[in-house]
Symmetry: C2
Subunit: 343 residues, 2 copies
């Protein structure tokens, strides 16, 4: 059999497994049982399957360009990650081209393939919200170095750089409990969104661990988590008979809408209602009272992601030895006047 | 002589003119006299000079990808332009790759050439602050469609999309005069920056037209026009014996630093000191009092730029008929509480 022609898909068909399973088996993913791993590896060997065959070809003509794909380049948190990527790229002598998927799986796949044709040395990607069909992304892992950040998927066997949204939200809500709040509302996204779900899970866990009753009436979901929706939700929460004494919005933007509405009705923050956001946007220090929020270290995420990628690019010969791992960048709760009044 | 081999540079050398002059002569730029135009055109004809020769080659393999180069992708105003570009690209069926020059001329030229090699159909560029050496950019005009936006250069014969910074600043300062302010400070950039110089010129013209004395003591220049510098400059202005009664900061970021400092010292805004910014960033409606500022329609700039570019790409045969022009997108002064108290 001609070397280098075997694809992941062929291995998958031979074994009647999914491409995902084959790929993860070859990468020693803990979710795959040893039996399957052995079968896959044996077949891969007998069929002369060579991972990274295209990547090796590209790297002979190393372009020193890294491709970055994100759902929305102008989103604040994404922009801070991109800033970290660009700063570190400059230090390590790489150029970067950036493209936006517009949260559209088809556009995302098109741009991934365009970048590969272009001859980038590696790709950093943050996936679309709806990336459930990962079959188009899996073969890329065998083509060239790929690292996921922020919006990741544990079904793709590559290094992933992320934050622990669940834990960060847990800490934010526990802080509200620690300052004496007992009736904590949440404003989250209605549609399936990985980060929203994780933050909601953190909220629920904090309430449960502190034996606080969960009340559906103060769990509000919105289609788009915007400033306007923050205002609208605050109005709804104020009209409830048994008002909340704290509001956790899963983004700063919505939290700022909440504060503007509370200010309008002269509600004392934090005494009557405390407010916590998420992301430590610049807005959070411009609104009065200043917003308590979770700092997502976008710059560090970007820098870490590109460092791992360049490591993979430059250590191609040992590509199979590089452990694919999930790296969690630490978040931090920044306490400001919206939850804490200096005496 | 073999067709298509003649370059702009060769024409320039033959005539002992600069590449810029030759390029502008061929594009009927108004700055070039008729005599020179005739000479250049005759030589171009006799040497079989064919503009857009590479562009035509590329367009046989139309990639439907547009390259965008900006000094800093995470800068707020730039991000709004990029958003406009991406929205319009999507409507017209084009993909976009974005790169950052980091305000570095060498990186800018590298990326321009990388994008051309990549086979983009056209390029939208906002130049680095220090782009004085345009020799590397001029040949691109003959290679494929190029349109400049925001940070432009009238030395490059291509369509340019911009705002009138001088007039916008004039209107902002005249507004301060109209509300009765007589001692208006400015916070601008120290280093040469096209936009800062234009806004400063508008400030000076407004004062002159209204016979207001120009006082160097309240004309402050900073190295980086940041929130911190806004605070620092406000402190300086408050320590001056004859305090200003208004402050015009050439960016919202600095204006917000000014407001935060005035708030700290309980100075009544706008009664004691009015404040005007520039760019209508999101922050401008989050700070209290809300900031009067110049709206720069970034989205419209982006959309207009890519519409002109796609027009050039898709009407390649008539490329020489497309008038290169400067399109000014209208700004608007948005009056808010930092200069106007509703009674």
């Amino acid at each position: 059999m001609k070397k280098g022609v075997t694809t992941l898909k062929m291995l998958a068909q031979h074994l009647n497994l999914s491409v995902s399973t084959v790929s993860r088996a070859l990468n020693d993913h803990p979710d795959i049982n040893e039996n399957t791993k052995t079968k896959v590896k044996q077949l891969a060997k007998s069929m002369n399957y060579t991972p990274n065959i295209f990547a090796k070809g590209f790297r002979k003509h190393k372009s020193n360009i890294i491709g970055v794909i994100v759902p929305n380049i102008t989103h604040y948190f994404t922009a801070t990650i991109v800033r970290g990527i660009l700063e570190q790229a400059s230090i390590q002598g790489y150029r970067v081209i950036i493209s936006e998927s517009d949260n559209d799986v088809i556009k995302q796949n098109e741009m991934l393939h365009t970048m590969i044709q272009f001859g980038v040395d590696g790709i950093l990607a943050s996936l679309t919200k709806m990336t459930r069909d990962i079959d188009n992304i899996l073969p890329i892992v065998d083509t060239l170095p790929l690292i996921l950040f922020d919006k990741v998927s544990d079904k793709i066997p590559c290094t992933q750089i992320t934050i622990n949204d669940e834990e960060a939200a847990f800490n934010a809500v526990e802080h509200l409990i620690n300052i004496g709040k007992k009736r904590i509302a949440i404003i989250k996204e209605r549609e399936f969104s990985y980060t929203s779900e994780k933050r909601y899970a953190g909220y629920l866990r904090a309430l449960k661990e502190h034996n606080i009753e969960i009340d559906e009436k103060i769990i509000l979901s919105v289609d788009d988590i915007s400033l306007m929706q923050g205002k609208r939700m605050a109005n709804i929460l104020l009209s409830i008979k048994k008002r909340p004494d704290a509001i956790f919005a899963i983004t700063d933007t919505a939290a700022i809408g909440v504060i503007q509405t509370l200010n309008k009705f002269n509600i004392e923050i934090p005494e009557e209602i405390a407010v916590v956001g998420f992301s430590n946007s610049k807005h959070s220090t411009i609104i009065e009272p200043k917003l308590t929020t979770v700092n997502q270290p976008g710059n560090a995420i970007g820098k870490t992601a590109i460092k791992y990628l360049i490591n993979e690019i430059e250590n191609d010969n040992e590509a199979d030895l590089i452990m694919k791992k999930t790296v969690e960048i630490k978040t931090e709760l920044i306490v400001r006047a919206s939850t804490f009044k200096a005496s």
